[in-house]
Symmetry: D2
Subunit: 354 residues, 4 copies
Amino acid sequence: MAGNTIGKIFRLTSFGESHGTAVGGVVDGCPSGLDFDVEFIQNEVNRRKTGSSPAASGRIEEDKVEILSGVFEGKTTGTPIAFLIKNKDAHSEDYENLKDVYRPSHADFTYEKKYGIRDYRGGGRASARETVVRIVGGAIAKLILFQKGIEILAFVAQIGTVKIENEIEKLSFNTVENSEVRCPDPEASEKMIKLIEDLKEEGDSTGGIVTCLINDCPAGIGEPVFDKLHADLGKAMLSINAVKGFEYGLGFESAAMKASVINDVFEYIDGEIVTKTNYSGGIQGGISNGSVIYFNVAFKPVPTISLEQNTVDKNGKPIKLKAEGRHDICVVPRAVPIVEAMAALVLVDHYLRE
Amino acid sequence: MAGNTIGKIFRLTSFGESHGTAVGGVVDGCPSGLDFDVEFIQNEVNRRKTGSSPAASGRIEEDKVEILSGVFEGKTTGTPIAFLIKNKDAHSEDYENLKDVYRPSHADFTYEKKYGIRDYRGGGRASARETVVRIVGGAIAKLILFQKGIEILAFVAQIGTVKIENEIEKLSFNTVENSEVRCPDPEASEKMIKLIEDLKEEGDSTGGIVTCLINDCPAGIGEPVFDKLHADLGKAMLSINAVKGFEYGLGFESAAMKASVINDVFEYIDGEIVTKTNYSGGIQGGISNGSVIYFNVAFKPVPTISLEQNTVDKNGKPIKLKAEGRHDICVVPRAVPIVEAMAALVLVDHYLRE
Amino acid sequence: MAGNTIGKIFRLTSFGESHGTAVGGVVDGCPSGLDFDVEFIQNEVNRRKTGSSPAASGRIEEDKVEILSGVFEGKTTGTPIAFLIKNKDAHSEDYENLKDVYRPSHADFTYEKKYGIRDYRGGGRASARETVVRIVGGAIAKLILFQKGIEILAFVAQIGTVKIENEIEKLSFNTVENSEVRCPDPEASEKMIKLIEDLKEEGDSTGGIVTCLINDCPAGIGEPVFDKLHADLGKAMLSINAVKGFEYGLGFESAAMKASVINDVFEYIDGEIVTKTNYSGGIQGGISNGSVIYFNVAFKPVPTISLEQNTVDKNGKPIKLKAEGRHDICVVPRAVPIVEAMAALVLVDHYLRE
Amino acid sequence: MAGNTIGKIFRLTSFGESHGTAVGGVVDGCPSGLDFDVEFIQNEVNRRKTGSSPAASGRIEEDKVEILSGVFEGKTTGTPIAFLIKNKDAHSEDYENLKDVYRPSHADFTYEKKYGIRDYRGGGRASARETVVRIVGGAIAKLILFQKGIEILAFVAQIGTVKIENEIEKLSFNTVENSEVRCPDPEASEKMIKLIEDLKEEGDSTGGIVTCLINDCPAGIGEPVFDKLHADLGKAMLSINAVKGFEYGLGFESAAMKASVINDVFEYIDGEIVTKTNYSGGIQGGISNGSVIYFNVAFKPVPTISLEQNTVDKNGKPIKLKAEGRHDICVVPRAVPIVEAMAALVLVDHYLRE
């Protein structure tokens, strides 16, 4: 059973290869009567573009979203919403020389082991180009969440060795999109940009961490046992290209702590039962408790670099590999809207499961 | 849509409350003709028992697995395998006083928000007692994996502030079960036991980290896009009670590293294409590459402690709470077979999806 | 992927063999707070018993339903409801001689082809004993439907060559359970009983047709395209042992008719839009329209008969076969509660999908 | 949970409205390395066209299938195969007058009840135009089945009151496509054409029955209990627009018969165990037995007719309705490839579940 669909009630099925005709998807299970804000969806897609990243070349891909079904007179009808984004004429011939080569830490080798065949052009199905489909699905999910007053906000917390040092409470999140690296801390932001410039010079790449906040999620969302809300969030994040880790609340840090320190005790404030602290990250037993949900997502460095690397081709012949032309030094700023989109997909699905 | 089933081909449906008649499950999709080793399954269940944990009271629960269907003359028939473990007469009256209380960092509050009703006895459905069901399902999965030569091995890498300091290559994993805390490093093991004893004295609890290795998994297992092998492993781990984080390969560490350092370059050795290093953790693009799969799972401290804590009841009335009697100081050693079981469930499901 | 689960939101997973320890099931997705009427459920199970059938031996099996989880203080908690019915000590040795024999028009041969192994005792998993699980699941579903005012009522419309001749409008459905063959038409009922007695004498068996009505189902239930309400009803009915056909509304008869005759024209009566006739059977485009839903289910004769039959064993050796002892002459009266149960399962699932 | 996906391993997700931009689908789970015969797929689509029906106008729609993904250098890659068929400029303004009208025995009323909104142009999502998506999915499924030597063949057995009178064994099925009404019996075929011409004159429409044969399906395909092979076939057929009934083997006829007459006894012929007769229709206990699988599908008359009909609009105002221009007198000949396509989808899914 192939894995190109996510969600149980609000379901996104994704299709498309990097250098095929188009990438796209089908959203099944979107409620009817929703105002379908095409402009918002297109803007979300634009946030992911190459041109939006700092050290990027400025090349602007069009990435125009075409809606094929499920919307009538500006509203959703409850039927499947299909959409596609055409792939531009993408110099596939540039990839001829990679046809038989297994690039280090890419999926070339494993796809070939699994399928016996692969569309080698630009990474084919394994390309991060597929994430644009998630952005569209997530944008539709966000339209529903907005109606419920739920807000999802992600930002860059770390790039390479540079982390936000200031306390998170002191940061102003409405500045995230102003930062070239989508980091709300101006000092860290500056250092990150410097780091990326240095790495560009070196021909290397690095990873980073995206933090995501979900505000105003009501209590009671999520399922016990296997489909815990944070388990589905974790799976969704880990399904993003280059992600190596997920933690929510105090995460890995909590392993070293004592319950007496990090238990979130309940209080009764203004007629409402709330937790005094939120070390848990807004989820207890897999179900939201009404506090802010927050989690971190760790990205490894993109494996494509300009430095020469050793590898082999499918016959085992040693090959020297060196990426020509443009490639991302650090995908993490561009990953911010993808993290948000995946969070929105999971949340709306759990919301509608209620 | 409730979340009590895991897997797509090999499916485990779990049921039962801590103080109800029984906990149990149904495995649907197990291949026919498998030698059904009841003793092995019971042994796996025994590994999870209270008595197996170091600072535990030595009380031995029986936890006898009863098989109700799907097995005939010692072999699986391809039909659903139902099983149950009866709950012992479990002093439910001890919980009367917790009926209206929301224990800090437990699921009492969120269950009530979601369902409007809850079986408050011993945590009900949210109790870690449910994990015994996973052990049984995972043990059946292991029987299949053994046949394929795949081995799953987990151990404790950290308890509270004590970590394994020795290099992992120098550890002997067949000693894991000899350690009272399931830590293969004798020095760390000793310190962990000491730490637990101190915490017991204090009346507090702490968390920890379990590392899991999957050896001899062939290349080609896993699905691209949403059902990546590590995404399903992550979800399965995050669904275990008290888990706060998951990382595979270099995990969070990779965020700070350079691709030139951690790319796994391919080599041709003895007629086979292999990676020189395994920073990726045995998975590329969501599909196994034939190397060892490894990952870490972070557990928070169990929230039930003997120290007095503040909380409120359902009417908002302040309550002083103090756990009486036995409770775990650190669940992490007992979580080792649970981590293995969940890994086995995910792996066998992906294996059969091929 | 094995097929022992039905439903998407309200899901019943069934397990158990005819002569194993128990048959049973797990209902996942039942809403919380439902009054769990155990007596009603047991009564539904009793309706299916051998003793309830006319020409049956009067042997009363106990078939006591045991609830293992999901119910607390008389109400559902929203967690999985597991239940089982123990199999009585069932003279399994009687089946030793059938171990290698393929009974005509039974599933012995196909199970062996599929699984390479089978529990041959009493038909194993293929036995109609499994339907008691459906009754329990359906009874829980009925409890929900009752709350919504939806009523499901099935009856025997044909046994062998005897059909109800009177107009359906003239029948009184509250007499169904009074008829030994669950036929609301007293004349037909009498003839059916006579027919069964004759067949018993002959040592033969026959089939029949069950008609089912769903009253007061609101408009708007069902999904377009693949999961049309009648498509799911059809699948559910066809999954019952011995069922060979399903039709709704005018069914097969409509093939020969003209649209001008059987189109259901709309009228405006007392402030409501209704159809003048109901040839469609209460469903348009896969979605209920508020009229009575009705359908027919055709059963073949049970293949086990006292007459001698030729067959072969697994080695191809010719065998003379002759059923000893009790067996049903016609299962159709006992199938009435099963048809109702399956209808309830489908309906409640679609209701909750809304 | 919306119902626009069919299949568990080989999954078709369908999208599109009659007068939207396009209809199309995504096939997920198609094995890699399959020769992707685009011409065959297009031919299957052409079989469904208006122009292929007897009494039709001869207008040829283009219905060109565009493949967007999942195919590389003429072979499937194992990734999702997305496709679309653009809707021609379809005089949507013709439907303005139907905007508020509920056409008798159409889905206008029920869609509005369910969704509160509907794309009224040409039936929107409820239009039989959606079935072209099934043809494409089914054609891909057929490519797989061909490799396994499995053949699916459907034909018209009845139109209105005209049935095939000759014995089925005497018919030559390779003539099906030569008949304007896809009936392999030349005499019946002629009478059917005459009947359709008469109905055209009258301005009325009629229904019919399609019979489908599946040849050379190996034994062992299908799942016990809920996902019986014939149950999934039944659901798939009942999901086709205008279908009112499904039966397999002797179907409804078997209700009146005796087991002694219709039991399929086993024989040992040429070293193989086979059934002497095939009244069961090639399936026992939900699993194929190696004999020919056959079933009947009943279609009601299309409700759109040129005769004037009464109905009401959404405000309850009486309306006189009369279809202008072209419409099908009998869809049954055009439904033949749709029945085949749905059978192929079900069969390949069950085949891959093995």
